[in-house]
Amino acid sequence: MARAAVRRRLTWQVGTVAEVYDETATARTLVLDVPDWPGHLAGQHVDIRLTAPDGYRASRSYSIASMPSGDRVELTVERLDDGEVSPYLTQVLSPGDPLEIRGPVGGWFVWRPDQPGPVQLIAGGSGVVPLMAMLRTHAAAGSEAPVRMLYSVRRPAAVIYRDELARRSAAGELELTLAFTREAPADDPRPPGRVDADLVARVTWPPQASPISYVCGPTPFVETVADLLVTAGHDPATIRTERFGGSR
C-alpha cells in the first residue's frame, strides 16, 4: 500500500467534508471522505486548493493527522487570522462541502511501523499534527519502538489533541513532555520558556540511543531544535524536519 501511495502521478481530486470538530480555539480537525484514497504513510501531507468565483486559486499543504483507514483522511488546521486559506477551512467549511485535495505526498518525513529504533518526536505548535499520525499509526501497528515526544506550545489551552495525548501517555505508548512557552499550569515545575539545550538533554533520547528524530513546527522553531540536537551529538542524517511558514 505504501508503495502504491507514492508510485504514481497525482492530480487534484475532490473530497467531501464528513465532519469537523474543534481541537482548540484556533485549530479544527476536518474529516474528509476521499473516494479511492490510496492510503498514506504517517507524516505525509496533502495539498488543499481553493478556487474563488473569479478563478483565483490558492493552495496550501496540510499534514495528515489520521492513521491510514479506508477513504477517511483527517487534517487538523490551525487558523492564521491573516491567512488566505486557513480561515475558510476553520470557520466556513462545513460537512457536505466539497474540497479539492492532492495527495498523499512526501516520502521523507515519514515514520514506518517496521522501523525498529527509538523515535523522538518534537513539535512546535501545530507541528504536532503529523507527529500525531505517527503516534496513532505506531499504536495501531502495535510497534514496540519506544517513543518520546517533546511538544512545545504557548499555553495549556493551545494543546492540540490534549486528551488523546494524555490517554496515550498514561497507557505507556509514549513518554510525553509538554513545554509551555508563555504560560504554564501552576503545578508545572518548569517556568514558561522556549525549548533549550537543558530541556533537550533531560527529556529526549540521548544520541547513544540512536533515535530517528522528527521535528515539525514553524521554521525558526525547527531551525533551533535541529541545531540543539546536532549540538547534543545527534547525527544530522537521523534528524528529519518539516518546517512550515506563516502562509498556511
Binding site: 502521478r9 492530480t11 501531507h45 512526501g106 516520502g107 521523507w108 521554521t219 525558526p220
Partner: protein, 91 residues
C-alpha cells in the same frame, strides 16, 4: 513569515507540485548538489515558495538545486543544480 527569520521550508513541501510530474516520490530521493557535492535527501533541501513557483536550494551551500513553475498550460522544470537524483526502487 517575518522578514527577520528564516523564510524557507523543506524540500518535503514540493512533494505535491512534483507529484504532478514524477511517478515516484522525489522528496525521498538522494540528490547531489552540483555546487558543493553534498548528497542529501531532497526532502532536506531548503525550499523557497515566495516566488512564481518553487525554488529548492542546497542546505549546505545555498546553490539552486531545482526550480519548478506551473502555468495554466505547462510545468517548467529546471534541474540545473542536481548532478544526480538517486531514487529508491520498489521492492
Amino acid at each position: 513569515m517575518s522578514a527577520d527569520g528564516p523564510s524557507y521550508l523543506d524540500g518535503n513541501a514540493a512533494a505535491g507540485a512534483l507529484s504532478e510530474v514524477f511517478a515516484v516520490d522525489v522528496t525521498a530521493a538522494i540528490g547531489r548538489c552540483a555546487g558543493c557535492g553534498r548528497t542529501e535527501a531532497f526532502g532536506a533541501a531548503h525550499l523557497y515558495t515566495q516566488a512564481p513557483g518553487l525554488v529548492a536550494r542546497c542546505a549546505g551551500c545555498d546553490a539552486v538545486l531545482l526550480r519548478v513553475v506551473t502555468t495554466r498550460t505547462e510545468t517548467w522544470l529546471d534541474l540545473r543544480g542536481l548532478t544526480h537524483l538517486r531514487i529508491p526502487t520498489a521492492e
